[in-house]
């Protein structure tokens, strides 16, 4: 079943980041086997001596390219990277990532909002990466963001859903899609994000640094799908005491 995000009809709710991969050449296999439709890339200076393969040659044509502004320290730099991204790919999907804190790589929500306002005005589909803050998510929604991307835990930490109590209000209260990004280290984390009601999950480090990125991507994709199915069905409430699964009538006592 398709859903709408950033003006596109997509099937997959699992987005992948392309950083830290052992080789860009595994991207087509990963995309195919995990059914991925959205992939993020970053922009960097290039020296003519570097004869590394170009990532753009490895991303299948049907994928939506989401340009990431990582490396930007303020709104102005993020806007500049977004414009470069559009010039290079024609893709208007931009993930705003503004960080000034090198230790935890936590996003600067305020600069992210400024960049969102500017880029929405220039016709971009803006996907801001934020700390899970409902008030900021509402401001971004009002500014015209295509979705919000709150973190589950700091980038690359593999800690999983550390702040469900902050993510859930965002999922409950805003109308635009919520993509849980960063900190997803295992398939169970991805499933948990989807069970919470996220519209999609983005993972990078957990896949790229796995001994087998393709298989990990497939495992994540399955977990995302399973979590989404459970959410759509409706999860059951936790109970304090046991509730027998088998009938408790006195079967044994009767044969005595």
């Amino acid at each position: 079943m398709t859903y709408q995000i950033g003006g596109r009809d997509l099937r997959s709710r699992f987005f992948i980041g392309s950083g830290k991969l052992p080789s860009y050449r595994i991207i087509p296999e990963m995309v195919e086997k995990a059914g991925v439709e959205v992939i993020t890339v970053a922009v960097r200076r290039i020296n003519p001596e570097t004869k590394q393969e170009n990532i753009m040659d490895c991303i299948p044509d049907h994928c939506v390219i989401m340009v990431n502004t990582s490396g930007a320290r303020n709104a102005g730099e993020a806007v500049r990277i977004a414009r470069i991204g559009r010039e290079l790919t024609g893709s208007d999907w931009i993930k705003i990532e503004v960080e000034t804190d090198a230790k935890y790589l936590l996003p600067d929500n305020e600069e992210t909002l400024k960049a969102t306002e500017i880029l929405v005005g220039e016709g971009f589909r803006v996907f801001p990466y934020i700390s899970p803050d409902l008030v900021m998510a509402k401001k971004l929604e009002k500014a015209g963001a295509a979705a919000v991307m709150p973190l589950a835990a700091p980038i690359g930490t593999n800690k999983g859903i550390t702040c469900a109590a902050l993510l859930k209000p965002i999922i409950n209260e805003i109308e635009i899609p919520v993509i849980i990004d960063a900190g997803i280290g295992r398939p169970s984390h991805a499933a948990e994000a989807m069970e919470l009601g996220a519209d999609a999950v983005l993972a990078n480090t957990a896949i790229a640094t796995s001994p087998d990125p393709v298989t990990m991507a497939v495992a994540m994709a399955k977990a995302v799908e399973a979590g989404r199915m459970a959410f759509e069905m409706g999860l059951l409430v936790e109970k304090e005491f046991a509730d027998a699964s088998s009938p408790l009538t006195g079967f044994l006592r009767r044969i005595e």
Binding site: G17, K20, A42, I46, P48, S70, L88
Partner: protein, 63 residues
């Protein structure tokens, strides 16, 4: 001199000349002069001034 990706490089009159002189492959790159994008079709005619900062960028893997 021109500052090409942060390094002082001999002056060339146009972006096109600067790129080919420095052995850049023209595919899949974007060029910024003093922070502003210059569209590909203007590279052969865009005249540089001494001291201009030119950045050549492309895509890499990133989350």
């Amino acid at each position: 001199m021109i500052k090409l990706n942060g390094t002082e490089t001999p002056y060339r009159e146009t972006i096109g000349e600067l790129l080919s002189e420095n052995h850049y492959e023209m595919k899949k790159i974007a060029v910024l002069v003093n922070g502003e994008i210059v569209k590909r079709e203007n590279w052969p005619v865009f005249v540089l001034k001494p001291g201009d900062e030119v950045d050549v960028v492309t895509f890499v893997g990133g989350g």
